[in-house]
């Protein structure tokens, strides 16, 4: 099945003894000139790249407090060394968060601190954790900064909050600026910038797909649930990852959102111009590219004249939406201020559930026992609702409202300590398959424990990347590829559409029962 050893799952995740170099061969395909220039980067390694690299590092140190503070503050205490799923799955010490940061920090120390310059001049930079810059260092950067999914688990456990994601984003931005980009991310950003979504789906294809979904849902339920596109004057603009249009189980989630909107009786639309929630600009640490992509959403919202923006299920997209969208593309003064801007689809559905506006037949999901995978960017980089931790509680509340059987995975593997699926941060590409499989080991072990001890049959997620990653990786560990489900797929199964055959309650009796 694979040309590498698939880790054997343990009862619980064991911290391995380190084994140097196990992943030094792992590197994603290098970006082509075409994609590089579309993003504003040189097409190949520039001539005096060492100087340019240091220049870009200085530029970022001056623009990002996080980068500067994190480069200075690490005391090498070791608290993070056993926290990264890629270290746990590969045993490669350069996948320990601090060691990954040190690949960049040693260059900063060598050329930009007194200690590094002093001992560097003596020919012993290693004495103070510094190192000379050369091609091997750059190769190490390319390899190991593409073995970080920017999941921030290390940051939770660092006494100074040092976030390796910030360092790896900076490293990727530096590498891009000297002409060494990653093909997967940069090609996708180019598509999103020119066509409007990561898949490169033009408007006619999108319209066709949505029409197909309308027919499918009507055949299935007898109710004409709409999937509107580019409808001016709609109240809500739905921005969702483009994987939702095609991939399984993503599309079942999209059907779920449409049914919820239908039952809520709101007018909504998607946009062909901003047909992508994902924003890979974040993965390559590029504020400018992230901003350009975000402004498409602003433009679409203005042109369609919507009052609200709702985001579909996607982890890093929700980070960009919740934490950055106001910064990148705000102010949103032209939208209805009575609703959160933007709002997550789980918040939207949860709100309706709280108000008792949706009817469910939970038994529709009785053939499953579910657990929930907290996606890293939702859990550690965003919020839902008005209380801290809502991003953990609200998706679970939605699942419990539509399913009878729910069991959480072990506490050290969920919530703020959640393990990444292994494919986030721009690593969801076939050329990194070994890394993805091995990086999924801690999550798979947690899943295995609830499968074996609590009869769990399925794992729900609210992230397009997690869903694609699990679909691919679950079979490596002898689980079914369809074990992974969308949260709104569960909503879709259980929701009772008004006027459908399942809608046995009349409106009157429903009102009486609601107390």
């Amino acid at each position: 099945m694979a040309d590498f050893d698939i880790p054997e799952l343990q009862e619980y995740t064991v911290v391995p003894k380190l084994k140097e170099g196990t992943m030094s061969h792992s590197s994603p395909f290098v970006s082509k000139e075409k994609f590089q220039s579309a993003l504003g980067y040189p097409g190949e390694l520039v001539e005096n790249w060492e100087d340019k690299l240091l220049e870009k590092m200085d530029d970022l140190r001056g623009r990002y407090r996080s980068f500067q503070v994190f480069l200075d503050s690490c005391v090498k205490c070791g608290a993070c060394t056993d926290k990264c799923h890629y270290y746990l799955g590969t045993k490669d010490p350069k996948n320990m968060p601090v060691a990954r940061q040190d690949l960049l920090r040693k260059i900063y120390r060598r050329y930009r601190t007194f200690a590094g310059k002093f001992f560097g001049a003596l020919g012993m930079p290693g004495f103070v954790g510094a190192a000379d810059l050369n091609k091997e260092v750059l190769d190490d950067w390319y390899s190991y900064f593409h073995q970080c999914s920017q999941c921030r688990r290390c940051s939770v456990f660092c006494p100074y909050g040092i976030d390796t994601a910030e360092i790896s984003m900076a490293a990727r931005e530096i590498m891009d600026s000297i002409g060494v980009g990653q093909k997967y991310c940069n090609e996708i950003i180019m598509k999103a910038k020119t066509i409007g979504n990561n898949l490169g789906l033009p408007e006619p294809a999108l319209a066709d797909t949505l029409e197909g979904l309308e027919e499918e849902v009507e055949d299935d339920t007898g109710v004409a649930v709409k999937f509107p596109l580019d409808q001016k004057g709609a109240d809500i603009l739905l921005v969702t990852p483009s994987a939702d249009f095609f991939a399984e189980p993503h599309v079942d989630g999209l059907i779920g959102y449409a049914k919820v909107f239908h039952e809520a009786g709101v007018s909504w639309t998607m946009s062909s111009y901003a047909s992508e929630a994902a924003n890979f600009g974040m993965f390559i640490g590029s504020y400018e590219n992230m901003r350009t992509l975000s402004l498409r959403i602003r433009k679409a919202a203005l042109e369609l004249g919507v009052k609200r923006i709702v985001f579909g299920e996607c982890g890093h997209a929700w980070r960009v939406a919740y934490s950055f969208l106001n910064t990148l593309a705000g102010p949103w003064d032209f939208l209805d201020q009575n609703y959160p801007i933007p709002q997550h689809i789980c918040e939207f559905t949860y709100d309706l559930i709280q108000k008792d506006k949706l009817k469910f037949d939970k038994s529709e999901n009785d053939h499953m026992t579910l657990t929930f995978h907290d996606s890293c960017n939702v859990a550690r980089a965003s919020r839902m609702g008005d209380k801290p931790g809502g991003q953990l509680d609200i998706p679970r509340a939605v699942i419990k409202a539509v399913c009878n059987n729910f069991v959480d995975m072990p506490p050290e593997t969920i919530g703020e300590s959640t393990y990444c699926c292994g494919g986030g941060g721009g690593l969801l590409t076939d050329d990194l398959m070994e890394l993805r499989v091995k990086g999924a080991q801690p999550r798979m072990e947690a899943y295995k424990s609830v499968v074996e001890n609590h009869g769990v049959t399925n794992i729900a997620a609210i992230c397009a990347i997690c869903k694609s990653q699990f679909t691919k990786v679950l079979p490596y560990y002898k689980f079914g590829m369809t074990d992974i489900v969308s949260v709104h797929q569960l909503v879709s199964e259980a929701i009772i559409l008004t006027g459908s055959e399942d809608d046995v309650d009349s409106d009157d009796s429903n009102e009486n029962e609601s107390e």
Binding site: F157, P159, G161, R383
Partner: protein, 252 residues
Amino acid sequence: MSASVVYALAFYAASAILFFGIVRKIVQYAKTPAPLKIPTMPAPVTQGGVVVRMASEVVLFNSLFKSNKWIWIFGWMFHLSLLLAFFRHLRYVVSPDSIFMPLVSLEIVQSFGRYAGFAMLIGLTGLLARRIFVDRVRYISSPSDYLMLLLILGIAGTGMAMSFVSHTDIVMLKEFVLGLLYFNIQPLPTDTVLLVHLALVIVLMVIFPVSKLLHAPGVFFSPTRNQVDNAREKRHLAPWAAELEADRKAGE
């Protein structure tokens, strides 16, 4: 030149390096914008909540506690005893007629500070042992990481030697220290243990602003810990990011 003068000049130089070195870094951290909201979530939604979060990090090492109980207990013991030792040492710099003198002379301050030395030795030895014996920590350690622990162990060891084994003339020492404060150099006791103790302290002061010891000011500037979670409610815009917006007005 007598030892007193050498030490006095070294102390002046080291104090200047320490002070200006740290001020320079603090100014750098304060002036560098944090363009994006990146608190590690779940995060406080109010400024008051951030103060509580930061306090629990600085006082209790909350994140480290979640991470690893061994590093936490050794690290916390070391830092707490450092604080207690600091209070005990205040008696050398507070002039006898100061209103703080009775406070500093309190039995509790003095004996806690004295016995904190043992906790400090245990904490530092534990951290050093981890660095040597845990393969992951050994991998990330440079010679300077070991030396820094040994340096502080040396300071603690010589300090305790003076407290428990061979006392120095603390009255004379206090006159030397107060003399430093008033730019009037007084003779320094010449026993070796004290001279080694002070020399190591001077080295520590000098390397502080050019080493990982910057974690002390750094932690307060860490955006993942000091930001309020209010990105949707309040627009957060760095000055350099605001400049990018010039292109937008025309487009809308």
